[in-house]
Amino acid sequence: MGKFIGVVLAIALVSFSEHSLSADPVAGEARYQESCINCHGPAGKGVASYPKISGKPTLYTKEKLEAYRAGIKLGPNSSLMIMMAMPLTDQEIDNLAAYLETATYK
């Protein structure tokens, strides 16, 4: 029983660390269509010199967006991403990360 509870707690901790309880992928898609799609293409597939950003764990996307929002450089086109991430709220970042995790271009 103790082992079982431990496993459940561990799973819960991992889940809480990667997913916000309130992350809304539908709202994330709507926010993505507002501005991100212009460079990264439909469903985050990556176009031209802009990289693919779909299919990544939510934690990855969240950390990247939070870093850009804080003005931290991560790669050669950081200035663009810093500018785009500045106005994002915590909720919008969660939503975007949730949407991009499973977004696929058909």
Binding site: V47, A48, S49, P76, M83
Partner: protein
């Protein structure tokens, strides 16, 4: 009477009546105006950043994919991969010196005017073959973009006899402190065969401040050359310039085409968060882009490039940017003023083609301009194709109509096909065939 019958039905009928009157009135007022039905169908999909297309009279279509290589689509729809880049597979042959990075890669393609006799095809790509002792920093010569001539096999299944006819177009080898600061920035390019069969090559400034106004470096220039890479004898650049140069002072030209009525060359190029420009070229003229630091009243700029100043970190009024580093600087006496400047916005003009054929009705002869859509700092993204009616002197437009496609994408490559349809490559991976037919 319920809500529906009381309010909605009269409104609907009223609207229909108004529409009916309006349509009748329009038909009467415009009697006989030939407005075509424009329709886009998907010709190819699942491609990897298709960049450009070139056609043979029977509809055979050569096309490039930026990080893969050159292929040909036969009229029956089958595809022959012809010449790959380093790391590509499935091609009949390949060049290990060809690479893609950032905005660079295998970009444009053009068919020789005498293809029926010589089977010649031209392709622009980034290459490591001619770096030589250069390319050690961003502030020195780096010959990293080339134009290749191939001989296409009679069965269109392979190419041979690669000859590099231009080997010294500049390339940006390293990251710099700019918004689009990665290596491989601003290469142009569009290859098109113009009047007389000469090859036109458009370039970019590769994020080097001195490039566009430099007399010898082939960055920020439009070249007019023959099939061997030699200068057109009538090119008239200023004294001391490389004779292959037709015009200079450009930023990043990804479009060139020739007006059917008089053969005049028009380019489209990206602006730096202000003023995408269409320009009517004048032999030896200056497009007016000069992003060098310590000039025109400017001080030092990040990595000696003032292209995104005075503020490259935040959005600001495009007009203020334009005043600081103009796309068309009026201090140049040989300035070619812009035909159109996208209302002061930069949204990324990707390619352009004059609409040919009377099937285009009132739009025949207009310049179709692909806008890729770059929405930063309050600029609307604006992914679209505009159809510009250009004045006879080439110095302005009469009007502009958005092509009614019903969708928005990153419109990278536009080329007219032999069937008078417009072929459109988008970064998302499709090539569309856009037709115009009379409305019956």
């Amino acid at each position: 009477m319920n809500l529906w019958s009381k309010h909605v039905v009269p409104v609907v009928f009223g609207t229909l009546a108004t529409l009916g009157w309006s349509i009748s009135a329009q038909a009467g007022a415009h009697g006989g105006m030939n407005i075509p039905m424009i329709k886009a169908t998907t010709l190819m999909e699942g491609l990897d950043n298709p960049w450009d297309m070139a056609f043979l009279p029977d509809g055979t279509m050569f096309y490039t994919e930026k990080c893969k290589g050159l292929s040909v689509r036969m009229p029956n729809g089958s595809v022959n991969p012809l010449y790959g880049m380093k790391g590509s597979t499935g091609y009949a042959s390949s060049g290990d010196d060809l690479f893609c990075e950032g905005q660079a890669g295998m970009l444009s393609v053009a068919v020789d005017r005498d293809f029926a006799k010589n089977q010649h095809l031209y392709v622009y790509s980034s290459s490591t073959k001619y770096h030589g002792a250069g390319c050690k920093t961003n502030f020195e010569r780096c010959d990293g973009n080339i134009v290749m001539r191939f001989k296409v096999g009679a069965d269109l299944k392979a190419v041979s006899d690669r000859t590099d006819i231009v080997t010294d177009i500049q390339y940006k080898p390293f990251e710099s402190n700019q918004p689009f600061g990665g290596p491989g920035a601003h290469n142009g390019s569009r290859l098109r065969v113009g009047p007389g069969g000469y090859l036109w090559v458009t370039g970019g400034d590769r994020h080097r401040g001195i490039c566009p106004q430099d007399p010898k470096l082939l960055c920020g220039k439009v070249l007019r050359i023959d099939g061997d890479g030699m200068a057109h004898p009538d090119n008239n650049p200023p004294v001391g310039f490389d004779k292959r140069i037709y015009t200079y002072g450009h930023r990043n030209v990804q479009a060139i085409d020739f007006r059917p009525s008089d053969g005049k060359a028009f380019t489209a190029e990206h602006g730096p968060w202000h003023n995408d420009e269409i320009t009517a070229l004048v032999n030896g003229g200056n497009a007016g882009w000069d992003p060098a630091e310590l000039t025109a009243g400017r001080g030092a700029c990040p990595d000696k490039y003032c292209g995104y100043e005075p503020n490259q970190k935040e959005g600001m009024d495009p007009a203020i940017r334009a005043a600081y580093t103009p796309m068309s600087d009026t201090r140049f006496k040989d300035l070619m003023p812009a035909t159109w400047n996208n209302n002061g916005y930069s949204q990324g003009t990707g390619s352009a083609a004059f609409l040919k054929g009377d099937n285009w009705g009132i739009y025949e002869g207009r310049l179709a301009v692909g806008i890729m859509g770059i929405g930063f700092g309050g600029t609307p993204a604006g992914q679209r194709i505009d159809m510009l009616s250009i004045t006879p002197d080439g110095l302005g437009i009469n009007n502009l109509t958005r092509m009614p496609l019903g969708f928005s994408k990153r419109f990278r490559g536009l080329a007219m096909g032999p069937d008078n349809a417009l072929y459109v490559a988008v970064d998302e991976g499709e090539i569309y065939r856009v037709t115009a037919e009379p409305i019956k």
